[in-house]
């Protein structure tokens, strides 16, 4: 197929797709038009029922906590899958045992290094804030966890590879990942001992707007934060090992 035929073929199918798109969107409701009753009810009721001012997280970690449990385990299995795919293959094993290290300092400019090092502290505080205030402000465990996990990446960008390696290889990371995944399930099961349904909010709700409020929503948010931080740092550890292996063979 020549380039010209291909272009014509693309233009015809693109025009068809555009027409279908326009036809499909012709009767779409205008922006902000919401018809279902569920959202309206839950936004009115959530603050009083669950003492959580961030209704999104009241839904994620309470009303539909079971769905979020599934989503958390999607991440968990995804990390497991990457671990499995990037495991040392035949012939790679012997070389890895030598445990060669990357150069400890990368050549980066002072401006970049100082700027990045200043950012690390801010990122960690911000990540913790987002994870802990999940029930009060936008964010929550997932978002906070990913921010926390990108802090070591910034350390790597600032050229301090040694510290990055120390953080990423710490056994605490796998503990955080598996502990976080298990913690969610344990919170769910513990409701059964109080005679309630799986993942029922059994912890006292506290005062609306306080840091320690909304019962299990806040706890689940923190647990998810642990799992996400651990999961992403495990991915980064694999990344690091790949770089080491690539540098050695070049």
């Amino acid at each position: 197929m020549s380039a010209q035929v291909r272009t014509i073929f693309f233009l015809v199918s693109a025009a068809g797709l555009a027409a279908l798109f326009a036809w499909g969107f012709r009767d779409a409701p205008p922006l902000g038009d919401y018809r279902g009753p569920y959202g309206d009810v839950v936004t009115k009721v959530a603050v009083f029922e669950r003492h959580a001012t961030d209704v999104v997280n009241a839904i994620n970690y309470d009303y539909r906590a079971f769905d979020t449990l599934g989503e958390e385990f999607i991440l968990f299995t995804a990390v497991l899958g990457v671990l499995l795919l990037f495991r040392p293959q035949k012939g790679e094993g012997e070389e890895d045992k030598k445990q060669e290290q990357l150069e400890e300092k990368l050549p980066v400019s002072d401006t970049l290094r100082v700027g990045m090092e200043m950012m690390v502290g801010v990122m960690i505080v911000f990540g913790l804030y987002i994870a802990v205030h999940g029930q009060l402000t936008p964010g929550g465990g997932f978002q906070g966890g990913v921010i926390l996990a990108s802090a070591p990446l910034v350390v790597h960008l600032s050229g301090d590879v040694e510290t990055f390696q120390r953080i990423v290889k710490s056994p605490l990371i796998k503990l955080a990942e598996s502990g976080g995944a298990a913690g969610y399930a344990i919170i769910g099961v513990s409701a059964l001992f109080f005679g309630a349904h799986f993942l029922t909010n059994i912890v006292p709700l506290g005062t609306t707007g306080d840091l320690f409020s909304s019962g299990t929503i806040a706890i689940i948010s923190i647990v998810v934060g642990m799992e996400v931080t651990g999961g992403f740092l495990v991915l980064m550890q694999i990344y690091l090992e790949e770089i080491i292996a690539a540098r050695k063979s070049s």
């Binding site: 922006l31 961030d54 999104v56 997280n57 990037f86 012939g91 987002i130 936008p138 964010g139 929550g140 997932f142 978002q143 990913v146 921010i147 990108s150 990446l153 992403f232 991915l235 980064m236 694999i238 990344y239 790949e242 770089i243 292996a245 690539a246 063979s249 070049s250």
Partner: protein, 92 residues
């Protein structure tokens, strides 16, 4: 607000072909990351700050990282294969 919504929608619409049209995978990672940031901005403007927060970190940081990881792995395997072929040639 209405104008801002149109501007961000236009920017996202322009950035998406940009990602598709950059041919070199390494360049594509950078454009994809910029596209992820624009998407996050779009979510924020359309009043979904929760989604925007996850989009910033997933779309602009973690997804490019995963692609870079896969590219490193592939380059590593290619180099290994070439070395093997060279060794075999020298052996003959």
């Amino acid at each position: 607000m209405r104008l801002l919504q149109w501007v961000i929608l236009l920017l996202v619409a322009l950035a998406a072909p940009g990602v598709a049209l950059s041919r070199d995978p390494k360049q594509q990672v950078v454009t994809l990351s910029a596209y992820g940031l624009l998407c996050a901005l779009m979510f924020f403007i359309f009043q979904a700050p929760d989604v925007a927060l996850s989009q910033i970190t997933i779309g602009a940081v973690m997804l490019p990282l995963m692609i870079l990881l896969a590219l490193t792995k592939m380059r590593h395997q290619d180099m290994r294969r070439e070395q093997k072929q060279q060794k075999e040639k020298q052996g003959q």
